[in-house]
């Protein structure tokens, strides 16, 4: 039991989660505040026979993991804002070609070089819309080490199940904060292995023909089925097509496979939301401060509640609408200019109830910050 309890950074919890999920190929490029993930994996991966490579930039890192994934590996890269911007084109390729992969973005302040060693949650909308063209994406987040571990495992499972890139949108505070992590035993959390094709050698294999349940069984590059993979619109053999029917069918498939499964993909934590008149909605490190406020008010018998979001994309509109139904005040606590707040306003009835409590100066939003903003929202002054 003793060696199952660790005192680690969030970035290390992510590494532990990834290895637990079966990660065996990582490509990356150093960037604050995600670098520890690459450093730890350079040490850990070869011990289990896995592969680590430091590429020449984040573009190459993203491309390399896509290539490795095609050969049958579970793959990941890790970065922060500027590197995440560079990865956008290849992220779109992974979406288009339906290649499972996990991308960690430990958020720092942007735009541009921004504020590398300080916290931000400014990449939420970039994660959704960063790569060009219509598409869907899955993005998960977490506020503490145990959840970082769990969400990392979840990211691999979702990525393998739906053959889609999954973004882990952590932040500098979560990534660098040290706290307790209890490593689950093998088998405690189910692991999804890649669905391989059962089509035998010599029989026509259609790499992009979904099964009835929508899943696409894969054949590894180097295996018995030779096929084509492209970032162009393609038919069920993986060959380019500009037939409007093929194009329409594929774009619908790529979006529907995520958006139509929002309810299966939504992960969240719920603190006293049932009867909350004051509903806070938050995620990542900001949710820790929000929870502190909620606990404090509940001790006084005041009806405060917190919805901690763990799935940011696809956005859980139904969940948010439902949780917010009885609240007088809805306050979104985040460290950006209202990126999730914007979606919350779209989700709820009577959006005039929604306020934003935020910091955008590289400093973790504290319970005191939130308390002051709540006073203002209630019209009680600072």
């Amino acid at each position: 039991m003793k060696d199952k309890v660790k005192f680690v950074q969030g970035n290390e919890a992510c590494v532990e989660g990834a290895l637990y999920a079966g990660l065996d190929f990582f490509a990356g490029y150093p960037i604050t505040p995600s670098t520890e993930i690459a450093e730890l994996l350079a040490f850990r991966l070869p011990i289990g026979g896995g592969k680590f490579i430091q590429m020449e930039d984040e573009i190459a890192s993203m491309c390399a993991i896509i290539g490795a994934s095609l050969t049958g590996r579970k793959v990941m890269t890790a970065t922060s804002g500027p590197g995440f911007s560079l990865m956008q084109e290849a992220l779109g390729y992974a979406i288009m070609a339906e290649i499972p992969c996990v991308i960690v973005n430990v958020q720092r302040g942007g735009p541009s070089t921004g504020i590398p060693t300080h916290v931000s949650q400014g990449d939420v909308n970039q994660t959704r819309w960063g790569t060009h063209g219509d598409h869907s994406i899955v993005a998960l987040t977490a506020s503490n080490n145990q959840d970082v571990f769990a969400m990392t495992v979840e990211a691999f499972n979702i990525s393998e199940t739906y053959r889609t890139p999954v973004v882990l949108l952590f932040d500098e505070v979560v990534g660098h904060m040290r706290e307790r992590l209890v490593l689950p035993e093998e088998g405690d959390i189910p692991i999804v292995e890649r669905l391989k094709t059962s089509v035998k050698q010599g029989v026509d294999y259609h790499p992009y023909l979904p099964r009835e349940d929508g899943r696409l069984p894969m054949s590894d590059f180097g295996g018995v089925h030779r096929y084509n993979v492209t970032g162009l619109y393609h038919d069920m053999w993986g060959f380019p097509s500009d037939d409007p029917g093929v194009v329409h069918g594929l774009i619908r498939h790529l979006m529907d496979k995520i958006d139509n499964r929002t309810n299966q993909l939504v992960r969240f934590k719920d603190f006293y939301t049932e009867d909350a008149e004051f509903l806070l909605i938050s995620y990542g490190s900001a949710a820790r401060s929000a929870r502190h406020i909620v606990e404090r008010h509940r001790r006084r018998g005041e009806k405060y509640g917190l919805l901690e979001m763990q799935t940011l994309w696809p956005f859980p509109y139904d969940l948010v609408r439902q949780k917010a139904a009885g609240a007088r005040y809805i306050v979104v606590v985040e460290m950006n200019s209202g990126q999730v707040c914007q979606s919350v306003r779209l989700a709820v009835d009577r959006p005039e109830r929604v306020s934003l409590a935020n910091r955008i100066d590289g400093v973790l939003i504290s319970p005191t910050d939130i308390q002051r903003m709540l006073h203002v929202i209630e019209g009680k002054g600072v």
């Binding site: 190929f25 490509a27 040490f43 070869p46 011990i47 026979g49 592969k51 490579i53 590429m55 020449e56 930039d57 573009i59 190459a60 890192s61 491309c63 390399a64 993991i65 896509i66 290539g67 490795a68 994934s69 095609l70 050969t71 049958g72 590996r73 793959v75 084109e89 290849a90 390729y93 590059f221 180097g222 295996g223 018995v224 030779r226 096929y227 084509n228 993979v229 492209t230 970032g231 162009l232 060959f239 380019p240």
Partner: protein, 267 residues
């Protein structure tokens, strides 16, 4: 096996213009692979974007058509993951050396066992004839209507300086030589680069008054000479063909195997 056993016949005729050199490269590539009697399931071909990059779709291997300039980065992931596979990366000159220049030099520096084929037609053909990093000073292109003032790279010198352990150059006029070089490049354990000068009569030839496809092919025999030939003493402007570098250095994937060994032994 015959040539047709290596191609996906249903995608022919190919998209290349009449007189384009890329079909000759395709032929040379197949001849090389056929001579080596490689199993088709053991070959992965990765390309980027451009006229040259369409070559992968015509070949019956594991094929990946990726992003402009990034083919070598995708290929690096494939090769490191499965070193037993033969990984071949055909690229255009703009693809390999402009947008993909960084990946090119770093793949060479790592000496990862990938065969890079640079199909040099001195132009961006797919987008309609803009100047590439190999167009050369004084040439005309749609984005250099007065004259190109960009100096060009020498692929052989660049690959050599970057650390490639096999570097060769040929042309689509010299078909036998070209196929043999590709064959040797595939066999070489390490990062190998073969530059193949391949004419683009549609854009480069027409704008630069190099005549038709046949004229352009003949021109390549006139402006090149075998490496270290006497002809170059009389005319130092002749472009050398041949194998310029062939040396042994630790190959990346093999070196990584020793890392795995050390990690497992805890040292």
């Amino acid at each position: 096996m015959a040539i047709k056993d290596y191609v996906r016949e249903r995608f022919f005729p190919h998209i290349w213009c009449a007189g384009c050199g890329h079909g000759i490269v395709l032929n040379g590539l197949i001849r090389a692979i056929e001579k080596l009697r490689l199993n088709k399931n053991d070959i992965v071909m990765v390309s980027g974007i451009g006229c040259s990059s369409r070559i992968t779709g015509y070949l019956d291997f594991h094929t990946m058509h990726t992003l402009h300039g990034r083919a070598l980065a995708f290929a690096t992931g494939i090769k490191l993951s499965r070193p037993e596979l033969k990984v071949i990366v055909p690229m255009g000159d703009g693809d390999a050396l402009a947008i993909g220049g960084n990946h090119f030099i770093h793949a060479a520096r790592r000496n990862i066992d990938i065969t890079a084929i640079v199909m040099n037609n001195q132009i961006y053909g797919m987008t309609g004839g803009q100047y590439s990093p190999l167009s050369g000073y004084g040439t005309i292109a749609s984005t250099a209507p007065y004259s190109n003032i960009d100096q060009s790279f020498d692929v052989v010198e660049l690959a050599t300086a970057a650390g490639a352990t096999f570097v060769a150059r040929s042309t689509t006029y010299h078909v036998q030589e070209m196929a043999e070089m590709i064959q040797e490049a595939i066999v070489h354990k390490g990062f190998s680069v073969v530059e193949i000068m391949s004419p683009c009569p549609t854009y480069f030839g027409r704008r630069n008054r190099q005549g038709d496809a046949v004229d352009m092919l003949n021109y390549m025999s006139k402006i090149t000479t075998p490496a270290d030939s006497i002809a170059r003493e009389d005319n130092p402007n002749l472009i050398e063909r041949g194998i310029f570098i062939r040396k042994e250095l630790p190959e990346y994937c093999s070196a990584y195997d020793t890392i795995i060994q050390r990690a497992k032994e805890g040292k």
